[in-house]
């Protein structure tokens, strides 16, 4: 698997800094599963945090702080380093390995088929992910092969991470692990490629402006 499309460095830095809002962070954490290049960038950026933390002026701790801490760790077991988990395949032979990276499984479980999908259009379904983030929204989209995602312009930024299958827009193809990072003021028309269609994670920071009539009417109802 070669990842061709990556998030902008500003997102990678924000993720490492811990200043990126939760919904965007889900997309970055999920992309990292597929992308050694971006993992390396995050590790590099985390060293900025380490360096700056080490250089902060000390704030004196309460005199009792150390005693309190030593009392707290009394009897606290140290965790073993995590071991590679047995894949889902091994534990239940009938089940396929989940297509969802762990970062997403912690929000929506491991079975996309079991999600209560909401129909957007005939061949486009969505599931909104619950977060504590008011700045951006994350949802999973499921698009049937050859069908377009409703054509839209953006008022803000949108990230689309392919989890399964692929889609194409006017310029490029996006396969599993690829993250499309679309800036403001772009109009594009992505289409799910042939085969099994496409499942992706989409994060955006402003309501999409659908150009087609029906989705625009449904927009307030579906909260998209």
């Amino acid at each position: 698997m070669t990842i061709l499309h990556h998030p902008g460095d500003d997102l990678v830095l924000g993720y490492a800094a811990g200043s990126l809002a939760e919904s965007w962070s889900i997309a970055i954490a999920a992309h990292l599963t597929y992308c050694p290049i971006c993992r390396l960038k995050v590790e590099a950026a985390e060293n900025v945090g380490g360096s700056l933390l080490g250089g902060l002026d000390a704030e004196a701790m309460a005199p009792s702080a150390l005693d309190l801490l030593l009392t707290q760790i009394k009897g606290v077991e140290q965790n073993e380093p995590e071991k590679p988990r047995a894949s889902i395949k091994e534990s239940s032979p009938s089940k396929q390995l989940s297509i969802l990276p762990s970062a997403l499984q912690s929000y929506i479980g491991n079975d996309v088929d079991a999600l209560p999908w909401q129909r957007l259009k005939n061949d486009v379904f969505q599931y909104l992910i619950e977060t504590n983030d008011y700045e951006a929204k994350a949802r999973i989209l499921r698009i049937k092969a050859g069908r377009p995602v409703p054509s839209h312009g953006h008022r803000g930024r949108e990230l689309t991470l392919v989890l399964s299958g692929s889609f194409e827009d006017e310029l490029s193809k996006f396969s599993t692990g690829d993250l499309q990072d679309v800036a403001e003021e772009t109009v594009h028309k992505p289409v799910a490629a042939s085969g099994d269609g496409c499942i992706c994670l989409a994060v955006k920071d402003a309501p999409l402006q659908f150009k087609e009539l029906i989705p625009r009417i449904l927009q307030p109802v579906l909260n998209i």
């Binding site: 902008g8 460095d9 500003d10 990678v12 490492a16 800094a17 811990g18 200043s19 990126l20 939760e22 889900i26 954490a29 999920a30 990292l32 599963t33 597929y34 050694p36 993992r39 390396l40 960038k41 590790e43 590099a44 985390e46 060293n47 900025v48 945090g49 380490g50 360096s51 700056l52 933390l53 080490g54 000390a58 704030e59 004196a60 701790m61 309460a62 702080a65 150390l66 309190l68 801490l69 030593l70 707290q72 760790i73 606290v76 140290q78 965790n79 380093p81 995590e82 071991k83 590679p84 390995l97 989940s98 990276p101 762990s102 970062a103 997403l104 912690s106 977060t131 504590n132 983030d133």
Partner: protein, 190 residues
């Protein structure tokens, strides 16, 4: 495994302290590490507006996690101070921003491994932090400021733009430029 128990913990590096916490559950090493970095973690919590009491509490929680997770520390992948930064950062998101921190699971069956050793893996981790520190010091003030606001004050790029009354695009390009220089200093040219 015989740790260097005769050596006074005070002279040991943060990395060595963390390793002896992991290997021998050494409370002395843990105390030294806490005395060195605890006051900095507390300062880090106060930078986002936590009161001294709350900052103290989250610092305690951070170090309980350091104790509990010490065996997960991998000195080939990270230096002690960077590793502790990531734990403190995640506690801060959880406690002060009340959001969750979506994290990569290094043992995810879907994880695509590195094919070739990366420049970072070939460098000594302790020298990485030194290089990064030197590289940050060399940044122009406007770039250093946005890096600080993002990493230490925890501001989003939009919030930095509002705070400095500077367009968002300018903030992002300052961050990008500083990141490029930083990565060059680590010998990573991708």
């Amino acid at each position: 495994m015989a740790p260097a128990q005769e050596v006074s913990p005070d002279t040991r590096s943060d990395n060595d302290l963390l390793l002896s916490i992991a290997v021998t559950q050494c409370r002395e090493a843990f105390s030294t590490l806490f005395q060195r970095l605890g006051p900095r973690v507390k300062a880090y919590m106060m930078k986002v507006g936590a009161s001294p009491d709350v900052a103290e509490e989250i610092t305690q929680e951070t170090f309980v996690s350091v104790w509990r997770k010490a065996r997960q520390f991998d000195q080939r992948k990270s230096s002690a101070v960077t590793w502790i930064f990531t734990i403190a950062r995640n506690r801060r998101i959880d406690r002060l921003r009340k959001e969750r921190r979506p994290a990569l699971d290094p043992y995810d069956p879907l994880l695509v491994p590195n094919k070739i050793p990366t420049p970072l893996e070939e460098l000594e981790q302790s020298s990485i932090v030194k290089n990064v520190t030197a590289s940050i010091e060399k940044l122009p003030v406007d770039q250093r400021d946005v890096v600080h606001l993002s990493f230490i004050e925890g501001l989003s790029h939009q919030e930095i733009s509002d705070r400095l009354k500077t367009p968002l695009g300018t903030i992002k390009s300052r961050l990008r430029l500083s990141f490029e220089k930083l990565r060059l200093s680590l010998g990573d040219s991708q």
